[in-house]
Amino acid sequence: MLLAHHARKNPVRDTSRSGQLFVACVVVMMLLSIFSETWELATLEAEFLASDVTLEFLASLGLRHWSLLELILAAGGLAIALSAMATVGVLLLKAMTPTDRRRAGKVPIETSRTS
């Protein structure tokens, strides 16, 4: 790890937001995989747990069968989807924010005092 720290001592640039988002999505997918595995087993063992909507949803994802490669690919897709949603959201907000009608088309009048 000496080499990784040596490279980071004088980085050309810091970790990008998209890189951070991607790794965060990878972590989320790993967590969902473990949670899905846990509650799939629990659902098998105890039928009264099956009424819990959240646990049923987690179990139905079937992520416990996914390997790391599939989780990373899914995380990439999730990161792209989240970025696209964020971009669309910002554009929609800008489009929906009304411009100030009092300011549209107005030119500031400069008053000059002439003697």
Binding site: L3, A4, K9, T38, D52
Partner: protein, 299 residues
Amino acid sequence: MEMDILSSAFLSALLVIVLIDLVLAGDNALVIGLVARHLPKDTQRKVIFWGTFAAVAVRAVMAIGVVWLLKIPGFLVVGGVALIWIARKLLDPQEGGGGDHKVAAAQTLGAAIRTVVIADAVMGIDNVLAIGGAAHGSMLLIVLGLLISVPIIVWGSQLVIRLVERWPAVVLLGGAVLAWTAYGMIVQEPLLKSWLSAHPTAKPILITAIFAISLAPWYSVHLQPKHKPLVVLLPALLLWLLAFEAAEDIWHFEVDYLEANSMRDYAIQAARWFGWLPFALAYLAWRGRVTQQTATAQR
């Protein structure tokens, strides 16, 4: 345990090993450069050749030793805990900072090779342990992991440096994968398997704690100040919710919020979904006070 070569499990394990080699291997080239920097050019070439040969030999011996050790009951947990610590150190921004690395330049060929062998034996342990944990007992994967690390050791230090500079997220991803590998090692421990089967909620609690411990140093530095409390709040919230699941396992009661019909049931559900709020607010208030005091002290 040998897997099918083209199966997704094998390819995933291979991907893990490549990532581990990228972030943990290659130290040998750096050490050789530091140790041999004051030697004459022809001696440097000998140090590079014999140092690299020794590095590969030492790693092969250590790999055999790690595979043997991990078969001893209890050592998978030890290895997993060690990997968590390695992942945390890899992502700790304080680590590796400061001036030159503390490797003394050698004055003779023998001293240089001896320093390289010892330094690589010490620094290669994390690489070999991580490969041993990721290989799931497959000798083919261990051999592939060593073979992949050899070109990195011999030629790849500049490549690794350029890769990390171009995509700094590789190190963060490497840390996350190390934490995942550590979790895999701990849950495969034969001594714990029956207990984990009886208490399935322990696995999500374990993976949450492992990720929190490994990734917190990195995120605590790289997040914007207004988002930094999330480093503590998010894992704490997850653990709070999981604690209720664990309590249901241990004390054998079940309360489904759709089927709650008594004050006790409502109280448990209220505690589960809202009980964390006072602690979160207290933490934010304490953090705000500490930040203010620090800012005042700096002025």
